[in-house]
Amino acid sequence: MWPFSQNRKKPKDVAKQRLKLAIFFDRKKINPKAVDAIKEAIIEALSRFPFVDTRGIKIHAFHQVGDDKIEIEVPVKGEDEEEEE
């Protein structure tokens, strides 16, 4: 790979995630406000765990025939244990 490529999330990836979610709710005829409601409920439920980074919670949509699902991404705070060689 070209050494200039960065790990930072590309603008199109942000767009893609938003668009997939929007289209998912369009297709299912679900009020998009449900996304925020789900997020709030998750944040409320997980806020008592100090290792959960509630600000980083994300909702992803997956549309497949017969297998539509949303996935909730919950980032965890703290540092990784150093691996020994």
């Binding site: 603008p11 767009a15 549309h63």
Partner: protein, 267 residues
């Protein structure tokens, strides 16, 4: 019965429906097929400009619907490409002047006289869209690699499905290799991931396109035009040929020293 009637639609306006329709029709006509392009965008006639036929229109599709002339009499024959005919939209009426059944009847009357019929749909998802799509054997959806166009395309896929038009084919128009490279624009794979449609065309952004429309000469007539080349490839795919899609990475124009260096090292 072989597929020959194609409707070109998009939901969103300005994605290049008429340009694709005019060029695709021309591309097949220069290959020797007898082609009819129908402008179903009543009240917002544009296909005539793209084909350079705007000064030769006597009758239009609404005259046919009103029984003032026969469908054959309303056809405008292209002067350059002998096998290409245009059925122009009316400029004075509105989109509801031609109903789905009207267009079905017109297409049925003309069907046997042509190898291919392309119907240029208006933007939107109202009656004009339904009129344009109803006679189709197959639907081609044009989109741009950007959010609003893709979302609208998805809506249109659902509506086509409800009308019994299954598995429309996708044309991704105006994709800019440099923006894709910088991660600012969706790549072909992103669009397919979101829409899950069968791809039939990838047409790169081509700054010369405006000049072609200005001169009334379809880009497919030029060997120089990259977009024209890709639309000719769509024509080949409609004929059943297996043509690989364009490699956008090889297209980045005006690349400087770094770009050339990258090519050198296969970056």
């Amino acid at each position: 019965m072989a597929k020959k009637v194609y409707s070109i639609t998009s939901g969103k306006g300005g994605v290049g429906k008429s340009t694709i329709t005019g060029n695709l029709a021309t591309a097949l006509a220069i290959k020797g097929y007898k082609v009819l392009a129908i402008d179903a965008d009543i009240g917002l006639r544009n296909l005539d400009l793209i084909l350079g036929l705007e000064n030769r229109i006597v009758y239009d599709i609404v005259h046919v619907v009103e029984g003032i002339c026969s469908p054959e009499k309303a056809l405008v024959k292209d002067k350059r490409t002998k096998n290409l005919y245009l059925l122009p939209a009316a400029q004075t009426k509105d989109k509801s002047a031609v109903k789905p059944d009207d267009l079905v009847a017109i297409v049925e009357q003309l069907r046997d006289k042509f190898d291919f019929i392309f119907i240029d749909s208006p933007a939107g998802i109202e009656e004009g869209f339904k009129t344009a799509v109803t006679p189709a054997d197959d639907v081609l959806i044009v989109t741009n690699p950007e959010m609003a166009a893709i979302r609208d395309a998805d809506r249109v896929v659902g509506l086509c499905e409800n009308m019994g038009k299954h598995e429309p084919k996708l044309i991704i128009n105006r994709i800019d290799p440099e923006k894709v490279e910088r991660g600012e624009m969706f790549d072909v794979s992103d669009v397919l991931d979101i829409l899950s449609l069968e791809l039939i065309g990838v047409v790169p952004e081509d700054s010369n396109m405006v000049a072609f429309v200005n001169s009334g000469e379809p880009a497919v007539l030029s060997e120089e035009s990259i977009a024209g080349q890709e639309i000719r490839n769509i024509a080949e795919r409609l004929l059943g040929k297996d043509i690989p899609f364009i490699d956008l990475k090889k297209l980045k124009k005006g690349k400087g020293f770094l770009g050339k260096l990258k090519d050198l090292f296969g970056g």
